[in-house]
């Protein structure tokens, strides 16, 4: 994936962030570098692996007694 200033602009709009031209260019360059680094994850074989969101089972509202 190649991150361009245009793409950052559209993502910023969706994220409700207003960026200056300078920021758009700088962030595109920096985040592009970051994603190139992150891309090494694609080497890992994750077939059949379950995702982990939380380490323990999270208590839900049902676990909690009604109280004032």
């Amino acid at each position: 994936m190649k991150l361009t200033a245009q793409y950052i602009e559209s993502m910023a709009k969706l994220s409700r962030l207003e960026l200056t031209e300078m920021e758009k260019n700088a962030y595109a360059k920096e985040l592009d570098e970051v994603f190139r680094y992150i891309d090494k994850l694609q080497q890992v074989n994750t077939d059949g692996v379950q995702p982990t969101d939380f380490i323990h089972v999270i208590q839900t509202i049902r676990d909690r007694k009604d109280e004032k």
Binding site: L17, Y27, E30, L31, L41, V44
Partner: protein, 492 residues
């Protein structure tokens, strides 16, 4: 006597014997802060009057013998990272947008410490919303490393670490999402602990990445760390990640003996860019454990090299969600007339958030958007499972894993700003611990050729704090690294 230099357990003995009062101790600490704060700049807010009032209230109670048994932290001055909500002191997260935020509720840890009659002195500097590893993203004057004023204290709990290292406080609390307690503790030469995920309630902590955040203590030695753990751990129904377990008395783990302990060590993990002084200090510590009867075993953690990218995807994704609340409606400073809601949020992004925070929001949203969800976010969650399994497998036959806390010692201000990936890789030893929800501690294990402290990291299994404390205490009892203090430019 310079009371501010005391550890918690030393001060506790003197308070119990009534050789000192909490007022004397608190006054000494406040004078120390007055003398050194110009150099260290670890505080965002200090409440001098209220601190003395709390100390006097405790002294009065003790005089009237209203307290049968003094809680361990009674009368002890401490500080909180400024992302832990306090009712009568603002909580800023070192961000412009929360500069005047005064919470109507307080964190569970704050209540627990108040019930222990500890004396809250103030709120400590940090990276904006805890996003950063140097303290440089704070909107307040940047905290300096007590060992070298031109270097960072580390982050994000930079103020929490610097204040304890500079004897401005007897202990502090910080939060650790990817190393934010352990890394600054190692840069400042103190003991910092990230407990098992769920051991300490995070209710009242402004969240960064909810599945990784954990509150923990920063102290002058391992004994103090156990004392603070006793006061802050426990189940809390208001934190949905809080673990329903019976917590032990952590001070019973302070045993000077590591014989037959099985300690894992990974040469492969250490193979990357590592400062030679750090490598030597860790090798020396390893040899020392071996001499004292511990069994050192090579450990294989096959997916550990992927921990940093996994961490950055997950923490950014969770941060981008957690920061949706920061839209300028509920908080934020006076901005005059802005007609549309969308414009307000955009205005906030432009004027009130720092660039490190904005980059994290963008990174998280890019990873979460539908076209990249499977390739990035979901992939990261799956590799997280593999990392968790690596540790689980390793701990089937190990009590602990030993590593450096950081690949290098404290860096200079501005040194890392242009190199985001290098700064990320600085976290290679700390982030896997958060991904797997394990407990870990950073303890001082030497100094580099520049005289800067080096930290050693001990990692335990889930709720395996016993092994952590035992090994850390043994190491501390047989070395003197933790006894050295930085020479400040303007000593009292």
């Amino acid at each position: 006597m310079e009371l501010y230099k005391l550890t918690i357990h030393e001060a506790r003995e003197l308070l119990r014997k009534r050789e000192i009062s909490s007022r004397e101790l608190t006054k000494s600490v406040l004078e120390r802060i007055r003398a050194t704060e110009g150099e260290i700049r670890s505080f965002i807010s200090i409440d001098f009057n209220n601190a003395l009032k709390q100390a006097e209230r405790f002294d009065k109670m003790q005089k009237k013998s209203e307290l049968h048994e003094l809680p361990d932290l009674a009368g002890i001055p401490y500080g909180l990272k400024d992302n832990i909500c306090t009712r009568n002191m603002r909580t800023t997260c070192a961000s412009r947008i929360m500069e005047y935020f005064s919470p109507v509720y307080e964190g569970t840890v704050v209540k627990k410490l108040r019930d222990s009659h500890a004396v809250l002195i103030g709120k400590l500097n940090m990276d904006e919303f805890a996003i950063g590893s140097s303290g440089e993203t704070s909107i307040f004057p940047h905290t300096r490393n007590p060992w070298s004023a031109d270097r960072v204290p580390g982050g994000s709990s930079g103020g929490s670490a610097a204040s304890v290292a500079a004897d401005q406080l007897l202990f502090s609390l910080g939060s650790d999402t990817g190393g934010s307690i352990r890394q600054p503790s190692s840069f400042c030469g103190i003991v910092g602990m990230k407990p098992t995920f769920g051991a300490v309630s995070c209710f009242g902590l402004v969240p960064f990445a909810t599945s990784l955040d954990q509150i923990g203590p920063l102290c002058k030695d391992v004994t103090d760390c156990a004392i603070v753990m006793n006061a802050i751990t426990g189940f809390d129904a208001r934190d949905k990640a809080s673990a329903k377990i019976k917590h032990p008395d952590y001070t019973t783990f302070l045993i000077d003996d590591v014989s037959c302990m099985r300690i894992g060590f990974s040469q492969k993990w250490m193979a990357g860019n590592l400062n030679e002084d750090v490598r030597n200090a860790i090798e020396k510590a390893k040899a020392m454990f071996e001499d004292m009867g511990a069994v050192i075993e090579e450990v294989s953690l096959p997916h550990i090299e992927y921990a940093v990218p996994v961490y950055f995807l997950i923490s950014s994704a969770e941060a981008s969600y957690n920061l949706t609340g920061v839209d300028g409606i509920r908080m934020g400073y006076e901005k005059g007339a802005i007609p549309e809601l969308d414009e307000l949020a955009e205005y906030v992004g432009m004027h009130e958030l720092g660039s490190a925070v904005k980059k994290r929001i963008l990174l998280g949203n890019i990873a979460l958007c539908s076209e990249h969800y499977e390739t990035y976010y979901m992939k990261a969650l799956k590799v997280r499972t593999l990392i968790k399994q690596d540790f689980a497998q390793a701990f089937e036959k190990l009590d602990l894993i030993l590593s450096p806390t950081n690949p290098d010692t404290a860096f200079r201000f501005g040194e890392m700003q242009d190199n985001i990936v290098k700064m990320y890789e600085y976290d290679a030893f700390t982030v896997p611990v958060n991904l797997a929800g394990l407990p870990a501690m950073s303890i001082p294990c030497g100094f580099d050729s520049k005289g800067l402290p080096i930290g050693m990291q001990l990692i335990g299994k889930h709720f395996g704090e016993e092994a952590l404390f035992r090994a850390a205490y043994t190491f501390e009892q047989n070395t003197d690294h933790h006894l050295k203090s930085p020479l400040l430019r303007h000593p009292q």
